[in-house]
């Protein structure tokens, strides 16, 4: 214990004694923790918002039964629960989330909408009251005779300024439905879906689901015995069959898979940042040990054992880890809150998702603390072990800056060569399973080779630097300073390499992605008119409309073609998927599928195949999620049984890229899933149409269907473009953030290098070197460091860029584009950072007092 006290005291004093170095090293930890913690708040917050938005209401019931496809099922299924042992009462209901179009209630575009989503609950009143109690604060409860009547919450009533006896409207398949308020339920404590309770037949009409329900709430006999509860659960499952599950509705869950993938990508990003932070800390501790050899030797001479020395170094790491982690957590939270605030409007307008406050899971908090402190301590472990090997005699020898002149070609070099060769072979195999991990291993290989490659690379770039600064007389000096510490330079270059590799790779990805995306937007959404529901891609949360609207549009003078999308959710292989019904003739005429792989030679044949049997076009997300290939068959669970569909082609469309989606014919969607209503409509006018007249008629028709917002194609395209540009700007900012550790690493290395060479710098000044020459020398060294890191970074980025293309293949059609933009960005950032990193150390070195510098120990 006393030993620990001494170690912590020494650690704290040393940290305090070198404030700048402590600051720089702690910054590395801060950054890593900030990225991990902050990035992993964003997606859970989105998930929480998604779940709050689309999940059905739960109450104080023992069980809720839904179909595994989350789709409505015949009301008669509920009757199977009659007489089931342990079931006391049950209540079938049809519960649907209804997205409310913008300005639906207040009709004022300048005001923020108070109500953006409702939860429509169709119940059999007496059965509903038998499973759950409903307090009526005003008016009365529903009766079985009520029609076009509703109970609403006090919060909803206040929001849309209605009371008992008033009518209000909600979107429905026929456009809108007017309901009279017969009673008011208590105010909702938590925000989210406001409930509108109607009679079951009313809900079935509103949503065009005749005779259907999607939830059965059950209350069982009261029992605390786990065994009896399990028995009752089994009885219920036996009565209903395998296609029903105990659980709640999960509309929109097809998006969860994509969000989870996004979460994984963010985690990788964060781990890379912390890894880089670890490099910086390792570099710093190595220098600390070198600087303190005499102190360490003296401690050993006085009787400190090796354990004490190791503990002293690790204690410093521990303290820095704690400090850096605390600051990183705080800044990470603020960063996440800022990003959530930034993307909020985008989420709200595109998928009608209201992002709430940042969600922080206890596991994330603990994990971030563990990683932040752990990486710092582990990064200091090797230097600590090295310190413990310092002999007492070191205390008696004069100190000197360490120099390494021998070429380092040991185990690390051999390992690096082997890894590089294997990763290059991986590319040649064309196997994603090998290529993707190969990308990261390639970077590891470069890190292992770095100490050996530093000298020859420095010699090459050094000649350039040397010739640039020849007249100042410091070119060779700068080159020599870099090459005499290849290990330290290698660590700095590795940190820069990681950051710049990501920039080069991502830069290339963004270039090709923007090109593809913008093309796709024009291709998919370039129709003359679009009729857009409140939430795109989360189709299940919108109220659809009957085909009557589309038929009316087709009849408008001047309209050439109308294409509609119809939606059903389904389960395949335990995964939630989205099924969209298209008309194989009108869909390609107005929009289109971007084919990447097909059983057919041309697109028309692929579309036509949808009318023959049960064929399906799928997007990459579905293929990746289910692990299928074109030509495979998949099983889909429907309320009427399990069906087999064959995948005839793979591609993508702009609207559903991130959601596991399959496209089938609208005929099959009707026959197999009972869906006939439209969730999205696109329309093209004839070339010679009277556009003004057609526009007037179209808008007049659309007024009866306020679920859809009428958008001119070109306007939609422009709006999407600017939103995508904003998103990409955010991505560029993220990349720049990732490059920050390289700046810290260079700053760290240069600062330490200046401190170590104090006496030498004093000597140069004493011999007649000017302050300007000293400054220039440091800047030249920085440029050399940056050049080395950038060179490695470009190599790493080229491989990583290819990895990204391979990884994205399953989700988005990205062809490999040589990342010229990324390379240019990498060079610019690398060299600029080099110059920035040199500013403070150069100034410090130039301002040194000559006499004090010569006396420095």
């Amino acid at each position: 214990m006393i030993d620990v006290n001494l170690q912590l005291t020494l650690a704290a004093r040393y940290l305090n004694g070198r404030k700048l170095r402590t600051f720089l090293t702690t910054l590395a930890v801060v950054f890593g923790v900030l990225v991990i913690f902050g990035m992993n708040i964003i997606l859970p917050t989105m998930l929480a918002a998604l779940q709050a938005n689309v999940m059905g209401t739960e109450g104080m019931v023992d069980f809720s039964i839904t179909h595994i496809s989350s789709e409505p099922f015949p009301q008669s299924v509920a009757d199977k629960l009659q007489g089931v042992d342990g079931v006391r009462v049950y209540s079938p209901s049809l519960t649907r989330t209804i997205n409310i179009p913008a300005d639906f209630y207040d009709k004022d575009a300048n005001k923020t909408d108070n109500v953006t989503v409702l939860s429509l609950m169709g119940v059999i009143p007496e059965q509903a009251r038998s499973v759950r109690s409903y307090t009526i604060v005003e008016g009365r409860y529903l009766t079985a005779d009520d029609s076009a009547s509703a109970l609403i919450s006090r919060t909803l009533a206040d929001a849309i300024k209605v009371n008992v006896g008033d009518t209000f409207r909600i979107p429905s398949v026929d456009g809108t439905t007017e309901l009279t308020i017969v009673g008011i339920l208590p105010a909702q404590i938590f925000g989210g879906n406001e409930t509108v309770m109607v009679n079951l037949p009313e809900a079935q009409i509103i949503t065009n689901e005749p005779g259907k329900v999607n939830v059965i709430d059950i209350n069982t006999e009261t029992t605390a015995l786990e065994e009896r509860r399990a028995e009752v659960t089994k009885n219920i499952e036996t009565a209903l069959g395998n296609d029903y599950q105990v659980g709640t509705l999960l509309t929109g869950s097809e998006m969860f898979a994509s969000l989870r993938l996004g979460q994984a990508m963010f985690s990788v990003f964060g781990v890379m940042a912390l890894f880089m932070g670890g490099f910086i800390i390792f570099n710093t501790f190595r220098t600390i040990v070198a600087e303190r050899r005499r102190d360490i030797g003296m401690l050993r001479a006085l009787g400190a054992n090796r354990r004490t020395i190791i503990g002293m170094i690790l204690a410093e790491g521990f303290l820095q880890g704690i400090l850096g982690t605390c600051i990183g957590l705080t800044l990470g939270y603020l960063m996440a809150a800022g990003i959530i605030n930034f993307i909020g409007p985008f989420m709200s307008s595109f998928i009608n998702l209201n992002m709430g406050a940042p969600v922080v899971s206890p596991l994330l908090l603990i994990g971030s603390i563990f990683l932040g402190v752990g990486v710092t301590v582990v990064a200091g472990l090797i230097p600590a072990l090295s310190a413990s090997k310092v002999t007492p005699l070191e205390a008696l020898r004069p100190s000197a800056a360490e120099t390494q002149f021998n070429q380092r070609t040991g185990f690390g070099f051999a390992g690096g060569v082997v890894i590089i060769v294997l990763t290059v072979i991986a590319i040649l195999t064309g196997q994603p399973a090998l290529i993707i991990p190969g990308g990261f291993l390639f970077l590891l290989g470069l890190v292992l080779l770095a100490p050996t490659l530093v000298r020859p690379v420095a010699l090459v770039f050094g000649r350039v630097i040397g010739s640039l600064y020849a007249r100042q007389g410091i070119g060779e000096l700068a080159q020599g300073n870099v090459t005499r510490q290849p290990s330290r330079v290698a660590v700095t270059a590795s940190t820069s390499m990681l950051a710049l590799a990501v920039i080069v790779a991502m830069g290339g990805m963004v270039s090709s992605l923007t090109g593809v995306l913008f093309d796709l937007v024009r291709f998919n959404l370039g129709s003359d008119y679009l009729f857009v529901p409140p939430s795109i891609a989360l189709w299940g949360s919108n109220v659809a409309t009957t085909p009557e609207f589309a038929n009316q549009l087709k009849a408008v003078d001047g309209v050439e073609a109308v294409s509609t999308l119809r939606y059903s959710s389904a389960i395949s292989n335990g995964q939630a998927i989205s099924l969209l019904g298209i008309d194989p003739v009108s869909y390609p005429a107005v929009s289109g599928f971007y084919f990447q792989d097909s059983l057919y030679a041309d697109d028309d044949a692929a579309y036509a195949s949808l009318t023959e049997g049960r064929n399906m076009l799928v997007n990459g997300s579905l293929m990746a999620t289910l692990g299928k290939q074109v030509g495979d068959t998949i099983e889909i669970v429907t309320p009427d049984g399990t069906l087999q569909y064959r995948i005839v082609a793979m591609g993508t469309d702009m609207l559903n890229a991130k959601v596991t989606t399959g496209f089938i014919s609208q005929t099959n969607l009707q026959n197999d899933f009972g869906v006939t209503d439209d969730v999205f409509i696109q329309l093209n006018l004839k070339k010679n149409a009277d556009r003004a007249a057609a526009d007037k008629t179209i808008r007049a028709l659309a007024e009866k269907y306020p679920t859809f917002k009428v958008v001119i194609g070109t306007e939609y395209y422009e709006s999407l473009n600017s939103q995508m540009n904003a998103a990409f700007s955010g991505m560029y900012a993220l990349f720049l953030l990732l490059a920050l550790p390289s700046l810290i690493a260079m700053l760290n290395t240069l600062t330490i290098s200046v401190i170590e060479r104090t006496r030498e710098i004093g000597m140069i000044r004493a011999a007649g070197g000017t302050r300007k020459q000293i400054r220039t020398m440091i800047v030249a060294e920085a440029l050399l460091l940056a050049a080395i890191g950038t060179a490695f970074g470009i190599l790493g980025g080229l491989y990583l860029g290819y990895v990204i293309v391979v990884a994205m293949k399953g989700i988005f059609p990205l062809g490999y584009v040589f990342p010229t933009n990324g390379i240019l960005a990498g060079i610019l950032i690398g060299l600029l950072f080099g110059v920035f990193a040199a500013l403070i150390p150069a100034r410090q070195a130039a301002r040194m007092n000559v006499v004090e510098a010569l006396r420095y120990e």
Binding site: I2, D295, M298, L299, L302, R306
Partner: protein
């Protein structure tokens, strides 16, 4: 503890044709509470002898026996413990920990040995007070003069109550007045506090404070002289000896 016995002590660096014999079968006996100075020209092996006496290095041949313990029989941990409890070191460049104050530096050996902080600081305070540093306890090394720093170092060397003090050029970095103060202090350590003190020095004036001088040349003992102080010309005598054996 008793005497220190050095028997046929040899230290060779390198091997074959490039081998350098720093010490060549040296035999020395140092009595309890004796103050011995080791002198000789540069490269004669005096510092090597000191390092071997303190267990900082291992001999190529021969033994160092301190208090009945043959240092060659001790492993690294045992040597470490010996240095912590039985031997105190005073270095030329003071080697104080820059981030600890005078009191903490002086208490360091016994803190490392697990003594409670309060007790360690009390002992260190006692020694620092004896050496006239009572008002400098909380000053860091950079706030102390060279002489003051070396006094802290001597207090540190004594705090664990060792029987042997090894001083390697303790006045090498000090001015004349401070040097005399330190040398006098070391003599008091020997005579007043009854510790054995072995000091390496090249300064005849400082060596004159010792009881006996051992002269080394080319790794061998070439002379041992007891010093007499009655006529106050010990320094001149030593200087003469140094001239005789080269510097």
């Amino acid at each position: 503890m008793s005497n220190i016995q050095v028997e046929k002590l040899t230290k060779t660096y390198g091997s074959g044709t490039t081998a350098v014999v720093a010490l060549d079968h040296v035999n020395v006996t140092i009595r309890e509470s004796e103050f011995v100075a080791i002198m000789g020209p540069s490269g004669c092996g005096k510092s090597t002898l000191l390092h071997l006496l303190g267990g900082l290095d291992k001999p190529s041949e021969g033994h160092v026996i301190i208090g009945g313990h043959n240092l060659s029989d001790l492993n690294d941990d045992q040597l470490t413990e010996l240095r912590r409890r039985k031997i105190g070191f005073v270095f030329q460049f003071f080697n104080l920990i820059p981030v600890l104050n005078a009191l903490e530096n002086a208490a360091l050996p016994i803190t490392l040995d697990g003594v409670k902080p309060a007790e360690a600081k009390a002992k260190a305070t006692e020694w620092l007070t004896k050496f006239g540093l009572a008002d400098r306890l909380v000053n860091r090394p950079d706030q102390l003069s060279g002489g003051q720093q070396q006094r802290v170092a001597i207090a540190r060397a004594l705090v664990a109550d060792p029987e042997l003090i090894l001083a390697d050029e303790p006045t090498g970095n000090l001015d004349t007045r401070s040097s005399d103060e330190i040398a006098s202090l070391l003599r008091d350590v020997s005579k007043q506090y009854k510790r054995t003190v072995v000091m390496v020095t090249h300064d005849p004036r400082i060596a004159a404070y010792a009881d006996r001088i051992i002269f080394l040349k080319d790794g061998k003992v070439v002379d041992e002289t007891l010093l007499e102080r009655k006529n106050g010309k010990a320094a001149d005598f030593v200087a003469g000896k140094v001239k005789e054996f080269g510097d």
